[in-house]
Structure formats: C-alpha cells, structure tokens
C-alpha cells in the first residue's frame, strides 16, 4: 500500500532488513527478520531449493507426483515445485495426484482447486477414486458401518490410495506438503504415544525408501505461517478439517518463542533409536502386494469385512486387530490428523 500513507506504513513499520528499500510486510517466525514481499518470495523459494539440493531429494529424469488435496500446503507446493523445476532445471516430470474418497459434497471444492492448479501450473492431474481402488466409495462404507468407525477406514484407505495412485502414474516418488508445524506436531504426538517406530521415521525428509514409492517433504523446514502468507491471497484454498490439541500447543509455543517449531523437529531428529529396540519387520500383503507387517495389509482386512458384510471385522477397541507385533495402534485418531 505505498500509495496510502497509513499509520501502519508511515509509522512503526521498518524497511526490509534484506533490501532496505521497501517497507517490510512480514516477520519471519524462523529468524524474526522483517522483510518485504519481494524478498520474502526470494528467500522462501531459495530455502526450499536448498533443502531439495542438500538432501538430494530428486534425480534428473525422475517422475514425481505431488500429493494434491486442494489445501494450502499442496497448492503452494505444486506452484513452488513447478517453478523451481523450471528455474533450476531439475529435469523432473511433475504430476498432480488427488484422491477422491467419494464423499458427497466433500471434495467438490478441493477438486475444483486442484483442477485449477492443473491449468495454472501446467501439471497433468490424475484423480484416483476409492471406487476404482477399493470398489467402495466412502459414502457406501459409511452406509454400511455408520459414522462411528469410518475414521479407521479413512486413515488406512487414504494412506494407501496415494501409493496406489502413484503406482498407476508410474512415478518414482511422491512429494507431500507436510510443513515444519506438521512435523513438530507429529514429533510431539509420537512422544506422547510412546511410538518409537514412528518417532524415528517422522522427522525423516524422505520415508519409504525401502518400499515401492518413497515419499518426501520439501516443506520440512518451512513454517506454516509462511506457506499461508505466501500467496498473499486466501481465496485459493479450500479449508479442511480442524486440527487437534497438539497443533494448538505448537501455535502457543510459536507465539512465545517462534524458534520452538524448529527446535522440536531437531529434538525429534536427535531421538536415535537404540539398535536393541525391536522394530516391526516390513513385508508385503499376500493379497495386494502393498507393504505390510502383517499377512494382509490393513486395507485388505477392512475390505474383506466390507465385502463379507461384516464391516466391524478388523476394527478392535484399539483400532485394527490382526497385529503380529504388539504395536499400539493409533488408527482411531480423527480424520485429518497426521501420519507419515
């Protein structure tokens, strides 16, 4: 608002600490620097480029699917990936990959957003539906089992859907929009649950390297505040489910001490798992070939129940039974919470 000498611009707001030419428009939570919009775009994109390069996330010629939900993180990720790929000649073939659960009305807005992204960023879009992947839409599942247990289905089916869609697209990797706040939240949740296996994995920038399709998180060190502010326009997103207490706790911490988010990620990374801790062994599902530590993967157990008309099969008090190792299940958590 240069044209308008408002109290905000004439008064306390300083010049950008990077270019020292323009009024600052944002305070970076990571560094507390006050910077202008132009410099912000620059440092935001450069930092993500550095993370990609330093962690060797991609190789030239790879096919990469961007997990696209229509929400803010994946929308910004799609834009930044397309932009960096072009600017720095990564040589990647990029695709948008969306999952349609088949819930009436639920995905309409977000699929519209993703379709817009397809055109705006020139990225081919693949939408995989639950109906295609599992033979059941989420609406049909809810009709069968009621609303009470559908979070179990939601979580298990959604996690596999992205992998199965990625397999259909024949991509080498999937990138997701998980940001620094997400990862800090997951560190805290995994500590509270005492889930050593997930704690060890959740801070890794790339996961599933032993599986068919690795996943990586270029926004691992990117603060949510900056992702939200990046477009300087909010009309582009479709809001999703509300998040839980751990997320609020993160935001409370951020207000007191903005660095806290990075510190939590750091402490999560520093938890190295002693070799004596027994980790669940990875195998593959006898039915569908998906990675599973059990005879059948969770999706196949749930599907078996649905197809036999016994939808409660596989849903125990603590989530899904059929666990070879007595790992505590967290699959009963609410839709929209995080998993890696």
């Amino acid at each position: 608002m240069e044209s308008k000498a408002t109290a905000q611009s004439s008064g306390r707001v300083r010049n950008c600490s990077i270019c020292n030419q323009t009024k600052a428009a944002l305070k970076r939570p990571k560094t507390l620097e006050q910077i202008c919009r132009e410099c912000f775009y620059q440092v935001f994109e450069d930092e993500i480029h550095r993370v990609i390069v330093d962690n060797h996330l991609f190789k030239p010629g790879e096919r990469i699917a961007i997990g696209a939900s229509g929400g803010k993180d994946s929308t910004v990720l799609a834009y930044v990936m397309a932009e960096l790929n072009r600017r720095h000649n990564y040589g990647l073939d990029l695709f948008l990959l969306s999952v349609d659960e088949g819930i009436t009305g639920y995905r309409d807005d977000s699929l519209e957003t993703v379709k817009r992204n397809e055109i705006q960023y020139g990225l081919p879009l693949k939408v995989v539906s639950y109906k295609d992947l599992y033979g059941w839409t989420m609406d049909e599942i809810v009709k069968m089992i009621g609303l009470k247990n559908n979070c179990t289905f939601c979580g298990v089916f959604r996690r596999q859907a992205l992998d199965r869609g990625a397999a259909l697209l024949k991509v080498d990797k999937v990138v997701t929009g998980h940001n620094a706040d997400d990862i800090a939240e997951t560190v805290i949740l995994n500590i509270l649950r005492g889930d050593i296996a997930r704690l060890g994995r959740c801070t890794s920038i790339t996961t599933g390297e032993d599986g068919p399709i690795p996943r990586c998180k270029p926004f691992k060190y990117t603060y949510e505040k900056e992702i939200v502010i990046y477009p300087f326009s909010m009309s582009i997103y479709s809001p999703n489910a509300y998040r839980g207490f751990a997320r609020e706790f993160i935001k409370d911490l951020e207000r007191i001490r903005p660095r806290a988010i990075l510190d939590i990620i750091k402490s999560g990374e520093d938890f190295r798992i002693a070799t004596s801790t027994k980790m669940p062994e990875q195998g593959t599902c006898e039915r569908c070939g998906y990675i599973s530590s059990q005879k059948w993967c969770k999706a196949c157990v749930l599907l078996e129940g649905l197809n036999r008309g016994l939808p409660k099969l596989g849903i125990g008090r603590r989530g899904i039974d059929n666990e070879r190792n007595s790992r505590k299940s967290i699959d009963n958590k609410k839709c929209g919470s995080l998993d890696f």
Binding site: M1, K4, T6, A7, Q8, S9, G11, R12, V13, R14, K23, A24, A25, L26, K27, Q34, R37, S69, G71, K72, D73, S74, G177, N179, D181, E224, K225, I227, V228, I229, F232, M234, S235, Y237, P239, N240, A241, Y242, R243, R247, E248, K251, D252, E254, R255, G336
Partner: protein, 99 residues
Amino acid sequence: MKLTLEFGGGLELLCDSVKIHNVDVDQKDVEEKLTMKDLLVWVGKNLIKERPEMFMKGDTVRPGVLVLVNDCDWELSGQLDTLLEEKDVVVFISTLHGG
C-alpha cells in the same frame, strides 16, 4: 469508519460462511483512533456467529490466526495497537484448519 474485513482458512465458517465483509465500524469518539484491539471486540460482537473460541483467545486472536492489515503482517504494525484508518483492509486467516 468503513473497513473491509476478510476471513479465510476456515474462519469464514464462523461468520455465516461469508469471506468478505464490507463494514462500517462506529466509533464513540471521532477524536480517538480505532485500534485493532477495538476492531477485534467489534468483530466478536457483530460478525462471529459461532465458536468464538476458534477466533479469539483472551483479548487477542488465538495463536495460529494470521492477521494482515493492508497486506502487512500485523506483527510489524504493533498487533493490538495497530491504528486503523478509513478503507483499511484487514485479513484474518486461520492456519489451524488443515492443508
């Protein structure tokens, strides 16, 4: 004082799912400038129809709600003490709704 208020990231759901509100905020005293603190009280009374705790915590917005005054992070303009002027645009975005 005429202001444009925008709600995003799910906050619009708290005010009848309307994202953009062109409002006229009455001031008791023309001499006294309107601050963000005053505006938040006004918004709480006049626009937020449900779950006010999703918007406010104590006398300020709850952590995770970003505020931009004329496209500038309100952390730079003094947060609650930010002075508002005619035709200012104030944006509230929740980051607590997922991505």
